[in-house]
Symmetry: C2
């Protein structure tokens, strides 16, 4: 027997309509690539999304199910694309501008993008590969300056596309299970793989991450979206902000620590998101040049990699700003967990609390997680037993785009994350490694992430990445690469071994420590351990 | 093209599984009818729900789609029923114990309940009508004392039903659009009508009301559920608390102000819900007998009727406890709006802020609202134009149970609430009346709710209900019935007219003021204006 409740599809248009009705005067503020500041209201956003949707149909012939690519920074036009494209049933495919030319070429051909919306500053990246793109019929240029010119053929300017279009539309009915957007993984192993989100998954993810146990956002917040819109839909924030009525601030390419601090300061931002390397940079810059007045920033949400306990601690101690660790992947929309302290943790020492806050946290409703140990059994939630983290839920993929491979899925329907983790008795998950980065020494597992986190809490060390190197006796041994906080200082192996011996067993402590200028990073800002291993193998470290 | 996301149905079992995994040690505390305190964890709740589900199948033969009635106070067994019954695909039909015997008889026969779970203390109410119940095969008694006896035939005790059952179960797959629960309206006009909720609507409602713009609940909260489980699923709180990991405290029949204050005090409750008359009673009791230590209570959520600005103000001024106005109906699951101040309201005066907080507030995502004026047009959002409030959304009914009547639905798919309202430019909706209670005097509409609210802010007046009485010259005139704060005091008509003249036009001010012992109330605690009009017509006021 069916319930007698209205059919009310959960779509991106549901979100857009809601903001237009409930929060017409909330603001979308953009710092554009040319440095200018742009501001309009959600009511205006709504109108321009209608114009864009009409333009997509009337001038570009985009139809339901078509793929439309974006190659752009965070700004209002990109937000318009997040709603305008799925609003007419097409798929908003955000292309990661930081991938290699070869990967970008692969992605665009594989997804069969019909049109690509591209920021003028990013056009040079596309010009190189344009001749090899098989399906792209048109490029729409965003934020072009007056003397803009390009070798791309078939070019249209964004404002010319939407300018003459009606600012109302009769949005088509959309099945909530239809695809709304797509994002490719960064492909650290092999070619990137496409993850196709649905309207429903987008809505449910956004509705869940705003909740108090997760991001905790409301209509009085002003949020800086540092996570790029080309990284897993900016973690769903452009959808979430319209559900909460939060003001949304977009930095486009102004992502250097100084630029971020300027925006935080002048806009009186109180919440933000970003990967740890961004926040480490902001913290170090603030230490060097403390802001004249206290920032309004209360809290930053971190994902992508682990936020070290020392950064959490220092940011809070020095500036009263709280870091909240979250976890997710392209395949999980992305957010699945966050680590906030509960009432029962109030009685713990500061150090014990930091240990919990540095974990990835517990699952949101709509997400399930489990750890599978070496023998294929579900591991106990004891905070010790390591195994592969597997998840399922309302915004987790069931297969990759255009592939039948089931490698990443279990027979009983769980997604294999490739993360090695523990879950403690209170349900807090902690990633100890990527399966492929785990170090096995003398038959015992060593967590490279735990070592990195400990090394990065050392005052002389800014960044640390630990890899496994072959060893005749132990099969593998850990090796640490380090970036020093102060380039002219030094730190001895003995000093570091002594430092680590507080928290680690002897066999877990690296024998070798190599100081380098910077740690190689992937396109999404994570340590590129494949590259470090290659450098080591080639004797170039 | 479908998104490639897992099929993950939003069901009550999804919620139960989540709490068991994420919050196994959170507490469900019950003050049972006999006065004893009972406590267990969500892990134990989970196990007992499994036992109940097994018992329903094995001992009572309940199958998918069967109707199972509950006739009970708020306590852990009733929460178990909220999950155990829908968990096996049956429908949890909560029967309002405060309706008349005739209405209860009608409801049970109309819904075709197969089994009824009944609190021992409420058995006498059912004994009277049992011979007329056509479909009930069995009564399961909850919280029976040792010497319990009844004339009901075919009786089983709750613990005997679940006692020997397994505490694990392979929950059946359920379509999220299947019915999970049912509630009848209170039927102030005609017989009660059945509202059949789905698993999906239950999940989405619960997930939305916990958000910061709405109820704002998290895993550190301890919430007292004063709203009875037989009133619109206790506003969804028994589902919501398992999503947030909040501790849930159930008062059963201990609903007198003193009893509530005792629980607030001894349990260190920090959030609660309830209708305004409950909070008025609690406030007045606290004024008479101030608690020795400051209560932990931070906030109470109010719905069902309008919370007066004066009660909001006094509760906050005297005890530092914040009232949050919400709005909903049985037909809307129930919550659709809440009234919280935004950042831009900070610069308003205290009085202006209170005026906004006394409104019903703006819609949650998942809900749409509009006002239709006298001419059938959508009214502007100007805070002045009155008309009928219409809503649609993901937890709004599309038809009543077993009836084809479309009276309450528009051709374009909106539900007609029967409330007369305004919406202001910021989106805050305010109910000015029920359509049937509106007063039309000399061609002008007068809001009885606005008059009541103003009268109740007068220090000498505890409660006020305003009705329309026939008038030769003006067609209708308002008449006010009053309950005085201090029974031995008096208040003159002149004094009240003078008092109201600050905020109302002369024609809007009632000519007559009648002091009465108490205002007749409906089964859900609202002013029973039908009854007041009857008393007036019969000269009995």
């Amino acid at each position: 027997m069916n319930g007698l409740i209205m059919d009310y599809p959960l779509t991106t248009t549901t979100i857009l309509n809601y903001a237009n009705s409930a929060f017409p005067d909330k603001k979308l503020i953009s710092y554009l690539p040319d440095g200018s500041r742009h501001e309009y209201s959600y009511a205006q956003l709504y109108k321009r999304c209608c114009q864009l949707a009409n333009g997509l149909r009337n001038k570009l012939g985009i139809e339901k199910g078509d793929m439309v690519g974006t190659f752009a920074w965070n700004h209002y036009q990109h937000v318009e694309l997040y709603y305008g494209i799925p609003g007419i049933g097409a798929v908003c495919h955000t292309i990661n501008i930081r991938l290699s030319a070869q990967q970008i070429e692969f992605i665009i051909n594989h997804s069969e993008d019909k049109v690509i919306f591209v920021d003028a500053t990013l056009v040079p990246l596309l010009e190189k590969i344009a001749p090899k793109l098989e399906t792209v019929e048109k490029y729409v240029i965003i934020n072009a300056t007056k003397n803009f010119s390009t070798s791309l053929g078939n070019v249209l300017h964004y404002e010319d596309l939407i300018g003459e279009q009606l600012d109302t539309i009769d949005w088509p009915e959309i099945n909530e299970n239809d695809a709304s957007s797509m994002c490719y993984t960064s492909g650290t192993t092999g070619m990137p793989k496409g993850v196709l989100y649905s309207h429903r998954s987008t809505y449910l993810h956004a509705m869940t991450i705003l909740s108090p146990n997760a991001g905790n956002y409301n209509f009085s917040d002003k949020i800086l979206l540092i996570v790029p819109q080309f990284h897993v839909m900016a973690w769903g924030f452009p959808y979430m902000c319209l559900l909460t009525g939060s003001d949304m601030v977009m930095p486009s390419l102004h992502l250097q620590p100084k630029a971020i601090i300027n925006i935080l300061e002048s806009e009186q931002i109180n919440k933000a998101n970003g990967v740890p390397s961004i926040w480490r940079g902001v913290y170090e810059e603030m230490k060097k040049n403390p802001p004249k007045t206290k920032l309004a920033l209360e809290e930053y949400l971190v994902g992508g990699s682990a936020l070290s306990a020392s950064l959490i601690e220092n940011f809070e101690k020095d500036f009263g700003i709280k870091g909240v660790q979250a976890w997710g992947m392209t395949e999980t929309s992305p957010l699945g967990t966050a680590s906030r302290l509960q009432k029962k943790h109030e009685k713990l020492t500061r150090k014990e609390q930091l240990k919990i806050r540095a974990k990835q946290g517990f699952e949101f409703p709509g997400i399930e997680m489990r750890i599978i140990d070496e023998n294929g059994n579900i591991a106990p939630r004891d905070g010790e037993t390591m195994g592969e983290l597997q998840v399922k839920g309302a915004w987790v993929i069931k297969s990759y785009f255009k592939t039948n491979s089931r490698d990443k899925f279990t027979d009983d329907g769980w997604f294999k994350t490739g993360d090695v983790s523990t879950i403690d008795v209170d349900g807090y998950m902690q990633i100890t490694d990527r399966t492929k980065d785990l170090i096995k020494s003398g038959g015992e597992w060593i967590s490279s992430v735990a070592l990195e986190s400990a090394l990065m809490s050392h005052s002389k060390i800014s960044e640390a990445a630990v890899i496994a190197i072959p060893d005749e006796k132990w099969s593998e041994r850990p090796l640490a690469t380090l970036v020093l906080t102060n380039e002219s200082s030094t730190v001895s192996s003995e000093e570091l071994k002594e430092y680590l011996s507080k928290d680690f067993a002897k066999y877990q402590i690296p024998d070798q420590y190599i100081t380098i200028k910077q740690i190689p990073k992937t396109s999404v800002g994570k340590f590129d351990k494949k590259e470090i291993r290659r450098l080591y193998a080639e004797g170039k470290l």
